[in-house]
Amino acid sequence: MKTVYKKPECIGNKKPNSYCPGCMHSIVVRLVAEVLEELNVVNSSVMFAGVGCDGNGAFGYLDIDTVISPHGRALAVASAYKRCNPENVVFTYQGDGDLIAIGCAETMHAANRGENVTVIFVNNAQYGMTGGQMAPTTLAGMKTTTTPYGRDPKADGAPMHVCEILDTLDNPTFLARGTCTDPKNIIQTKKYIKQAFQNQLEGKGFSLGEIVSACPSNWGLSPLKSIDFINEKMLPEYPLGIVRDR
């Protein structure tokens, strides 16, 4: 018998994940685990998780050294760690609230310094963990628990495009956006994630993979309907592909 697919060794050994059904965090964490194994860096990797469903769910599920960072600060924490321990593989795992609302300054400046770290950025257009409030990435008109009448771009701000914003800076190396709606996109997203890690191993500098993701629980949609929402509403706002590759 031939093994076609196997769960990565470094997930789910100690603890199950705590994601809701249909949550794409679980796919993203699995892709990260696969990439770490393929690059043979499981034992030398340190995850700097943000505060949100992102960090919470991956905490202990991904069986590697993990540091939880204060909400939004993962890239400041990871920057210093990597500078002091260049032999380790360092990545942050952050949500949209963490990375571009409260952590906007830390993200911009780590990118601007060209820190040699990998960023896994899960954009689910709202705050999953705290119950579905507006995030900087929430779509115009989208209802959240704090935009009950729909996000009004004039009053609440317009969706922020992290890859494109970081593309205005000199120093980032790799910025790409994928999603996990179907096998084709999952394979493509894994390629982005792998390149974001490969770049770090080659000392190339700041590499970020954004993953447009579903939060069925707070979107109030079934997992399948959530995929439709991504395809119909999210992707026109957040187009897939490589924004920068140097």
Partner: protein
């Protein structure tokens, strides 16, 4: 050991690197800019890392990042800068990370102004962050003590696995004194310290051991109440071992002036003035302000001592609250304090003491 004539900020910076500090992050704020400036010149030559954070929030989180890998780390700032660091200071306490934090106090509340004060007493000793965490707080009264405190702070931080706080001020940062600067610990010792941390608790190479997790709060194996009980045991241990104070001319004292840190220099001069006039006055000077030296005030002979003057550079006075708790009503406690860059004055303290002794 070498004798040098140095400015406070630079002396603290030099002492930190000699004590094995290999990571520093900070954000400019008067009156402590000479610390990052000095370290930015020297740290790269030691193979260490200097980073100017984009804010105090980023800087203290950089310290967290360096510390989780076992690198000796220090951050300095002033007053409102420390307020911005508040959340992560709680994380450092909770995650039990050995770092050194120094505050060169300026005015407050708010941005206050840049004049030197002792206006951050409560912040340093009671409420540096949410959750009631505690850390050892040292309050040197001279540059020599500041230098020695830096070395000791790294030692104690390691011993208790806790952040240690050094409460300085704008005067100490800017003044020059001649000091004995201890020799630097060797590169081998610096490497061994990091290696030991990696073996015992820091994150990094996972080969041959279980995964580690570091978080400023409850983690997957440790419920919060259990963590807080563990931390409390550490605070009690510090309260047992780290009480530090000075008694000055207390043997026959009938009145006491009490002051700490930079304020104690003016208080000491006031005691000397009054002694020359024949008054039997002594001084109690807490050197560590957490744990507070309650025993120093318990040792007062209250059958003899008729009054205590507490003096500090803070309006409203803050240190006096701990003094009152320590004195427990056994003698009247009077206050004389200044604020907003108005430096305590020995003659004024002596005037207030004479008032008390009338």
């Amino acid at each position: 050991m070498e004798k040098v004539f140095m400015k406070g900020c630079e002396a603290v910076a030099e002492a930190a690197m000699r004590a094995g500090c290999r990571y520093y992050a900070g954000y400019p704020i008067t009156p402590q800019n000479q610390v990052p400036e000095y370290i930015s010149r020297k740290m790269p030559k030691l193979g260490g890392v200097f980073m100017q954070g984009e804010s105090e929030v980023a800087s203290i989180n950089m310290i967290y990042g360096a510390a989780v890998g076992g690198t000796r780390s220090m951050i300095t700032s002033s007053s409102c800068g420390l307020s911005l660091m508040s959340e992560t200071i709680g994380w450092l306490i909770s995650a039990e990370l050995p770092v050194v934090i120094a505050n060169f106090q300026r005015g407050g509340p708010g941005i206050g102004d840049i004049g030197p004060t002792q206006q951050d007493y409560f912040q340093a000793t009671k409420a540096h962050s949410n959750g009631g965490g505690r850390m050892l707080v040292m309050s040197p009264g001279s540059l020599q003590e500041a230098i020695d405190a830096v070395f000791e702070a790294f030692e104690k931080a390691n011993k208790y696995r806790t952040p240690v706080y050094i409460q300085l001020d704008g005067i100490s940062g800017g003044m020059m004194e001649s000091v004995m600067m201890p020799d630097a610990i060797s590169d081998e010792e610096v490497a061994a310290l990091k290696q030991k941390a990696k073996e015992e608790w820091a994150v990094g190479k996972m080969e041959g051991r279980e995964r580690r997790e570091i978080v400023g709060g409850a983690d997957s194996g440790l419920p919060l109440q259990t963590l807080n009980q563990k931390l409390e045991a550490k605070y009690l241990e510090m309260e047992k071992n780290e009480v530090k104070y000075e008694n000055y001319l207390m043997e026959d004292a009938e009145y006491v002036i009490t002051a700490y840190g930079i304020g104690s220099r003016f208080a000491r001069a006031a005691v000397n003035i009054l002694r020359e006039e024949g008054y039997k006055v002594g001084m109690i000077r807490p050197i560590n302000i957490y744990p507070f030296p309650f025993e120093a005030y318990d040792a007062i002979d209250y059958s003899k001592v008729k009054g205590i003057l507490s003096t500090e550079m803070s309006i409203p006075a803050q240190f006096i609250h701990d003094v009152q708790i320590a004195v427990k009503g056994r003698a009247p406690v009077y206050n004389y304090s200044t604020s907003g860059g108005v430096i305590l004055d020995a003659v004024e303290i002596a005037n207030h003491a004479r008032e008390m002794m009338k």
